[in-house]
Protein backbone atom coordinates (compact mmCIF):
# COMPACT_ATOMS: atom_id res chain seq x y z
CA UNK A 1 0.00 0.00 0.00
CA UNK A 2 1.51 3.32 -1.03
CA UNK A 3 1.48 6.45 1.08
CA UNK A 4 -0.89 7.98 -1.47
CA UNK A 5 -3.51 5.26 -1.19
CA UNK A 6 -3.32 5.40 2.62
CA UNK A 7 -3.83 9.15 2.48
CA UNK A 8 -6.86 8.75 0.20
CA UNK A 9 -8.26 6.06 2.49
CA UNK A 10 -7.80 8.27 5.57
CA UNK A 11 -9.43 11.26 3.92
CA UNK A 12 -12.27 8.98 2.89
CA UNK A 13 -12.63 7.85 6.51
CA UNK A 14 -12.66 11.49 7.68
CA UNK A 15 -15.35 12.28 5.12
CA UNK A 16 -17.49 9.31 6.20
CA UNK A 17 -17.16 10.27 9.88
CA UNK A 18 -18.06 13.88 9.13
CA UNK A 19 -21.12 12.76 7.18
CA UNK A 20 -22.17 10.46 10.05
CA UNK A 21 -21.74 13.31 12.52
CA UNK A 22 -23.87 15.66 10.40
CA UNK A 23 -26.63 13.08 9.93
CA UNK A 24 -26.56 12.29 13.66
CA UNK A 25 -26.76 15.98 14.54
CA UNK A 26 -29.76 16.47 12.26
CA UNK A 27 -31.49 13.37 13.60
CA UNK A 28 -30.84 14.38 17.21
CA UNK A 29 -32.18 17.87 16.61
CA UNK A 30 -35.31 16.57 14.90
CA UNK A 31 -37.32 15.78 18.06
CA UNK A 32 -36.90 19.34 19.31
CA UNK A 33 -38.51 20.70 16.19
CA UNK A 34 -41.30 18.21 15.75
CA UNK A 35 -41.93 16.80 19.24
CA UNK A 36 -45.16 17.20 21.20
CA UNK A 37 -46.19 20.83 21.43
CA UNK A 38 -43.59 21.90 18.89
CA UNK A 39 -44.67 23.88 15.90
CA UNK A 40 -44.68 27.32 14.41
CA UNK A 41 -47.79 29.32 13.77
CA UNK A 42 -48.94 32.91 13.42
CA UNK A 43 -52.15 33.71 15.27
CA UNK A 44 -53.81 36.72 16.91
CA UNK A 45 -55.01 37.31 20.43
CA UNK A 46 -58.29 38.88 21.55
CA UNK A 47 -56.79 42.36 21.13
CA UNK A 48 -55.68 41.65 17.57
CA UNK A 49 -52.03 41.37 18.60
CA UNK A 50 -49.87 38.77 16.82
CA UNK A 51 -49.13 35.57 18.72
CA UNK A 52 -46.74 32.77 17.81
CA UNK A 53 -45.27 29.67 19.51
CA UNK A 54 -43.11 31.82 21.81
CA UNK A 55 -46.22 32.99 23.71
CA UNK A 56 -45.93 29.94 25.99
CA UNK A 57 -42.37 30.72 27.09
CA UNK A 58 -41.58 32.64 30.28
CA UNK A 59 -44.41 31.50 32.57
CA UNK A 60 -46.30 28.32 33.42
CA UNK A 61 -49.30 27.85 31.16
CA UNK A 62 -52.72 26.20 31.15
CA UNK A 63 -53.76 25.72 27.53
CA UNK A 64 -57.28 24.86 26.35
CA UNK A 65 -58.73 24.44 22.87
CA UNK A 66 -62.43 25.29 22.54
CA UNK A 67 -65.05 27.52 20.91
CA UNK A 68 -67.65 30.00 22.10
CA UNK A 69 -70.60 28.13 20.47
CA UNK A 70 -69.77 25.29 22.86
CA UNK A 71 -72.71 24.42 25.15
CA UNK A 72 -71.02 22.52 27.90
CA UNK A 73 -67.35 21.52 27.89
CA UNK A 74 -65.95 24.99 27.27
CA UNK A 75 -68.09 27.02 29.71
CA UNK A 76 -67.60 24.32 32.34
CA UNK A 77 -63.85 24.31 31.85
CA UNK A 78 -63.79 28.13 31.89
CA UNK A 79 -65.77 28.14 35.15
CA UNK A 80 -63.38 25.60 36.65
CA UNK A 81 -60.41 27.59 35.42
CA UNK A 82 -61.86 30.71 37.06
CA UNK A 83 -62.05 28.82 40.33
CA UNK A 84 -58.44 27.54 39.93
CA UNK A 85 -57.24 31.12 39.65
CA UNK A 86 -59.39 32.06 42.62
CA UNK A 87 -58.16 29.15 44.75
CA UNK A 88 -54.49 29.64 43.85
CA UNK A 89 -54.63 33.35 44.60
CA UNK A 90 -51.18 34.92 44.78
CA UNK A 91 -49.60 31.49 44.53
CA UNK A 92 -50.81 31.33 40.92
CA UNK A 93 -49.81 34.84 39.92
CA UNK A 94 -47.31 33.58 37.31
CA UNK A 95 -49.81 31.22 35.73
CA UNK A 96 -51.18 32.22 32.35
CA UNK A 97 -54.09 30.55 30.59
CA UNK A 98 -54.91 30.46 26.89
CA UNK A 99 -58.17 29.64 25.14
CA UNK A 100 -57.38 28.75 21.54
CA UNK A 101 -60.45 28.72 19.28
CA UNK A 102 -60.86 25.69 17.04
CA UNK A 103 -63.78 27.55 15.40
CA UNK A 104 -61.97 30.64 14.11
CA UNK A 105 -64.63 31.47 11.50
CA UNK A 106 -67.08 32.40 14.26
CA UNK A 107 -64.65 33.30 17.05
CA UNK A 108 -63.34 36.71 16.15
CA UNK A 109 -60.97 38.48 18.57
CA UNK A 110 -63.90 40.66 19.74
CA UNK A 111 -66.10 37.64 20.50
CA UNK A 112 -63.28 35.88 22.35
CA UNK A 113 -62.31 38.92 24.40
CA UNK A 114 -65.51 39.23 26.42
CA UNK A 115 -65.81 35.46 26.64
CA UNK A 116 -62.44 34.82 28.26
CA UNK A 117 -62.36 38.00 30.33
CA UNK A 118 -65.20 36.49 32.36
CA UNK A 119 -62.67 33.90 33.61
CA UNK A 120 -59.70 36.02 34.64
CA UNK A 121 -57.47 38.84 33.48
CA UNK A 122 -54.74 36.21 33.10
CA UNK A 123 -56.41 34.27 30.30
CA UNK A 124 -55.90 35.20 26.68
CA UNK A 125 -58.17 34.24 23.80
CA UNK A 126 -56.36 33.18 20.64
CA UNK A 127 -57.78 32.86 17.13
CA UNK A 128 -56.48 33.16 13.58
CA UNK A 129 -56.90 31.76 10.12
CA UNK A 130 -58.14 28.16 9.84
CA UNK A 131 -54.75 27.18 8.38
CA UNK A 132 -52.76 28.59 11.31
CA UNK A 133 -55.21 27.15 13.87
CA UNK A 134 -54.68 23.77 12.19
CA UNK A 135 -50.93 24.16 12.83
CA UNK A 136 -51.20 24.85 16.56
CA UNK A 137 -53.80 22.07 16.94
CA UNK A 138 -51.49 19.65 15.16
CA UNK A 139 -48.58 20.66 17.39
CA UNK A 140 -50.60 19.75 20.48
CA UNK A 141 -52.29 16.69 18.98
CA UNK A 142 -55.68 18.37 19.34
CA UNK A 143 -58.58 16.76 17.48
CA UNK A 144 -61.39 18.94 16.19
CA UNK A 145 -64.10 18.41 13.60
CA UNK A 146 -67.17 20.27 12.43
CA UNK A 147 -70.56 18.60 13.02
CA UNK A 148 -73.46 20.03 10.99
CA UNK A 149 -76.72 20.69 12.85
CA UNK A 150 -78.96 21.67 9.94
CA UNK A 151 -79.19 24.99 8.13
CA UNK A 152 -76.03 27.02 8.70
CA UNK A 153 -75.66 25.77 12.25
CA UNK A 154 -72.86 23.53 13.33
CA UNK A 155 -71.02 22.50 16.44
CA UNK A 156 -67.51 21.15 16.99
CA UNK A 157 -66.16 17.92 18.39
CA UNK A 158 -62.84 18.61 20.08
CA UNK A 159 -60.19 17.53 22.55
CA UNK A 160 -61.40 18.70 25.95
CA UNK A 161 -58.26 18.43 28.12
CA UNK A 162 -56.31 21.33 29.55
CA UNK A 163 -52.58 21.10 28.71
CA UNK A 164 -50.05 22.16 31.34
CA UNK A 165 -46.78 23.71 30.16
CA UNK A 166 -43.80 24.75 32.26
CA UNK A 167 -42.08 28.13 31.96
CA UNK A 168 -39.96 26.93 29.05
CA UNK A 169 -43.12 25.96 27.18
CA UNK A 170 -42.52 22.22 27.70
CA UNK A 171 -45.52 19.94 28.07
CA UNK A 172 -45.86 18.66 31.64
CA UNK A 173 -49.25 16.98 31.71
CA UNK A 174 -52.98 17.50 31.36
CA UNK A 175 -56.02 18.19 33.48
CA UNK A 176 -58.85 16.02 32.16
CA UNK A 177 -62.37 17.35 31.53
CA UNK A 178 -64.18 17.53 34.90
CA UNK A 179 -61.13 16.36 36.84
CA UNK A 180 -61.91 17.01 40.50
CA UNK A 181 -60.76 20.33 41.81
CA UNK A 182 -58.31 18.99 44.41
CA UNK A 183 -56.46 16.96 41.76
CA UNK A 184 -56.46 19.85 39.31
CA UNK A 185 -55.10 22.24 41.95
CA UNK A 186 -52.44 19.68 42.92
CA UNK A 187 -51.28 19.48 39.31
CA UNK A 188 -51.22 23.27 39.01
CA UNK A 189 -49.24 23.64 42.25
CA UNK A 190 -46.71 21.07 41.00
CA UNK A 191 -46.40 22.99 37.77
CA UNK A 192 -45.91 26.29 39.61
CA UNK A 193 -43.30 24.72 41.91
CA UNK A 194 -41.32 23.47 38.89
CA UNK A 195 -41.52 26.73 36.98
Amino acid sequence: MTMKSIRIWLWGAVGALALTAIVAAVLLRQPEQTGFGRGSYNLIDQNGQPVDQTVFVGHPTALFFGFTHCPEVCPTTMAEMASWFEQLGDEGQDLRAYFVSIDPQRDTPEVLGDYVSWVSDRITGITGTPEEIAKIAKAWGVYYARVDLGGDDYTMDHTASVFLLDASGEFQGTIAYREDQATALGKLRNLLAKS
Binding site: C70, A160, Y177
Partner: protein, 161 residues
Protein backbone atom coordinates in the same frame (compact mmCIF):
# COMPACT_ATOMS: atom_id res chain seq x y z
CA UNK B 1 -117.47 40.13 22.26
CA UNK B 2 -114.88 40.84 24.92
CA UNK B 3 -116.86 38.81 27.39
CA UNK B 4 -116.94 35.97 24.89
CA UNK B 5 -113.18 36.15 24.38
CA UNK B 6 -112.63 36.18 28.10
CA UNK B 7 -114.85 33.14 28.45
CA UNK B 8 -113.06 31.43 25.58
CA UNK B 9 -109.74 32.20 27.22
CA UNK B 10 -110.93 30.84 30.55
CA UNK B 11 -112.29 27.74 28.82
CA UNK B 12 -109.03 27.15 26.99
CA UNK B 13 -107.24 27.41 30.29
CA UNK B 14 -109.55 24.75 31.70
CA UNK B 15 -108.66 22.50 28.78
CA UNK B 16 -104.92 22.98 29.24
CA UNK B 17 -104.66 23.11 33.01
CA UNK B 18 -105.56 19.48 33.76
CA UNK B 19 -102.86 18.35 31.33
CA UNK B 20 -100.25 18.74 34.01
CA UNK B 21 -100.01 19.26 37.72
CA UNK B 22 -97.06 20.22 39.82
CA UNK B 23 -95.93 18.49 43.02
CA UNK B 24 -94.68 20.27 46.10
CA UNK B 25 -91.14 19.15 45.10
CA UNK B 26 -91.55 20.76 41.70
CA UNK B 27 -92.11 17.55 39.75
CA UNK B 28 -94.45 18.13 36.83
CA UNK B 29 -96.92 15.35 36.05
CA UNK B 30 -97.76 15.40 32.38
CA UNK B 31 -99.91 12.45 31.25
CA UNK B 32 -97.79 9.40 32.16
CA UNK B 33 -94.61 11.44 32.40
CA UNK B 34 -93.03 12.91 35.52
CA UNK B 35 -90.64 15.76 34.77
CA UNK B 36 -88.29 16.72 37.58
CA UNK B 37 -85.21 18.73 38.54
CA UNK B 38 -85.08 20.91 35.43
CA UNK B 39 -82.23 23.40 35.14
CA UNK B 40 -79.94 25.23 32.78
CA UNK B 41 -76.63 26.96 33.35
CA UNK B 42 -75.56 30.59 33.24
CA UNK B 43 -73.88 31.38 29.91
CA UNK B 44 -70.57 33.15 29.37
CA UNK B 45 -70.41 36.53 27.61
CA UNK B 46 -71.04 36.14 23.85
CA UNK B 47 -71.84 32.46 24.20
CA UNK B 48 -74.86 31.98 21.90
CA UNK B 49 -75.71 28.48 23.13
CA UNK B 50 -76.86 26.82 26.34
CA UNK B 51 -77.79 23.38 27.62
CA UNK B 52 -81.04 22.32 29.28
CA UNK B 53 -81.35 19.41 31.69
CA UNK B 54 -84.08 17.46 33.50
CA UNK B 55 -85.22 13.98 34.46
CA UNK B 56 -88.14 12.38 32.62
CA UNK B 57 -89.81 9.39 34.22
CA UNK B 58 -92.18 7.44 32.01
CA UNK B 59 -94.62 5.86 34.47
CA UNK B 60 -96.85 4.60 31.67
CA UNK B 61 -97.12 1.17 30.11
CA UNK B 62 -96.04 2.40 26.69
CA UNK B 63 -92.85 3.96 25.46
CA UNK B 64 -92.99 7.64 24.57
CA UNK B 65 -90.53 9.91 22.86
CA UNK B 66 -89.31 13.47 23.34
CA UNK B 67 -89.58 14.61 19.74
CA UNK B 68 -88.85 18.32 19.86
CA UNK B 69 -88.40 21.38 22.02
CA UNK B 70 -88.70 25.12 21.58
CA UNK B 71 -88.18 28.26 23.61
CA UNK B 72 -88.75 31.99 23.21
CA UNK B 73 -85.22 32.34 24.63
CA UNK B 74 -83.56 30.71 21.61
CA UNK B 75 -83.89 30.63 17.84
CA UNK B 76 -83.86 26.84 17.99
CA UNK B 77 -83.75 24.07 20.56
CA UNK B 78 -82.41 20.67 19.53
CA UNK B 79 -82.08 17.39 21.40
CA UNK B 80 -78.43 16.36 21.66
CA UNK B 81 -76.23 13.70 23.08
CA UNK B 82 -72.74 14.46 24.27
CA UNK B 83 -70.15 11.76 24.84
CA UNK B 84 -66.48 11.73 25.77
CA UNK B 85 -64.37 9.42 23.62
CA UNK B 86 -61.04 9.41 25.37
CA UNK B 87 -60.23 13.09 25.82
CA UNK B 88 -62.39 14.15 22.87
CA UNK B 89 -65.85 15.62 23.39
CA UNK B 90 -68.35 14.56 20.73
CA UNK B 91 -71.77 16.10 20.18
CA UNK B 92 -74.59 14.57 18.19
CA UNK B 93 -78.06 15.81 17.34
CA UNK B 94 -80.75 13.19 18.04
CA UNK B 95 -82.80 13.86 14.92
CA UNK B 96 -85.41 11.24 15.86
CA UNK B 97 -85.69 12.57 19.39
CA UNK B 98 -85.10 10.76 22.65
CA UNK B 99 -86.73 7.40 23.40
CA UNK B 100 -88.48 7.18 26.79
CA UNK B 101 -88.97 3.47 27.53
CA UNK B 102 -92.02 2.45 29.58
CA UNK B 103 -91.34 2.37 33.31
CA UNK B 104 -87.92 3.99 32.99
CA UNK B 105 -86.37 7.34 33.83
CA UNK B 106 -84.24 9.09 31.25
CA UNK B 107 -82.02 11.83 32.60
CA UNK B 108 -80.81 14.75 30.59
CA UNK B 109 -77.66 15.82 32.43
CA UNK B 110 -74.30 17.45 31.82
CA UNK B 111 -72.06 15.00 29.98
CA UNK B 112 -74.94 13.19 28.25
CA UNK B 113 -78.35 13.93 26.78
CA UNK B 114 -79.37 17.59 26.85
CA UNK B 115 -81.51 20.24 25.25
CA UNK B 116 -79.32 22.45 23.10
CA UNK B 117 -80.50 26.06 23.04
CA UNK B 118 -79.08 27.68 19.91
CA UNK B 119 -79.17 31.34 18.95
CA UNK B 120 -79.93 32.69 22.42
CA UNK B 121 -81.95 35.88 22.43
CA UNK B 122 -80.08 36.91 25.58
CA UNK B 123 -77.59 35.50 28.06
CA UNK B 124 -78.85 33.00 30.65
CA UNK B 125 -78.38 34.70 34.01
CA UNK B 126 -78.01 32.72 37.24
CA UNK B 127 -81.15 33.04 39.37
CA UNK B 128 -83.49 33.67 36.44
CA UNK B 129 -85.53 31.04 34.60
CA UNK B 130 -85.72 29.99 30.95
CA UNK B 131 -89.07 28.81 29.55
CA UNK B 132 -89.12 25.77 27.30
CA UNK B 133 -91.85 23.74 25.60
CA UNK B 134 -91.18 20.04 25.29
CA UNK B 135 -93.17 18.03 22.77
CA UNK B 136 -93.71 14.32 23.39
CA UNK B 137 -94.96 11.91 20.75
CA UNK B 138 -97.81 10.57 22.92
CA UNK B 139 -98.05 12.89 25.92
CA UNK B 140 -98.07 15.99 23.72
CA UNK B 141 -96.59 19.40 24.57
CA UNK B 142 -95.77 20.71 28.03
CA UNK B 143 -94.29 24.00 29.14
CA UNK B 144 -91.80 24.29 31.95
CA UNK B 145 -89.33 26.75 33.42
CA UNK B 146 -85.66 25.86 33.78
CA UNK B 147 -84.02 27.65 36.71
CA UNK B 148 -80.62 29.06 35.66
CA UNK B 149 -77.86 27.65 37.88
CA UNK B 150 -74.12 28.39 37.92
CA UNK B 151 -72.00 27.98 34.81
CA UNK B 152 -70.60 24.59 35.89
CA UNK B 153 -73.63 23.39 37.89
CA UNK B 154 -74.21 19.64 37.76
CA UNK B 155 -77.72 19.65 39.11
CA UNK B 156 -80.69 21.83 39.92
CA UNK B 157 -79.85 22.30 43.59
CA UNK B 158 -76.09 22.22 44.03
CA UNK B 159 -73.52 24.96 44.07
CA UNK B 160 -71.36 25.35 40.99
CA UNK B 161 -68.14 25.15 42.96
Amino acid sequence: MIRFLRAAFAASFLLVAPAFAQDHDGTIHHADLNLSAPFTRATLPNAPVGGGFLSIQNAGADADRLVSASSPAAAMVQIHEMAMEGDVMKMRQLADGLELPAGETVTLAPGGFHLMFMGLTQAFVEGETVPVTLVFEKAGPVELELPVMGTAADAAHTMSH
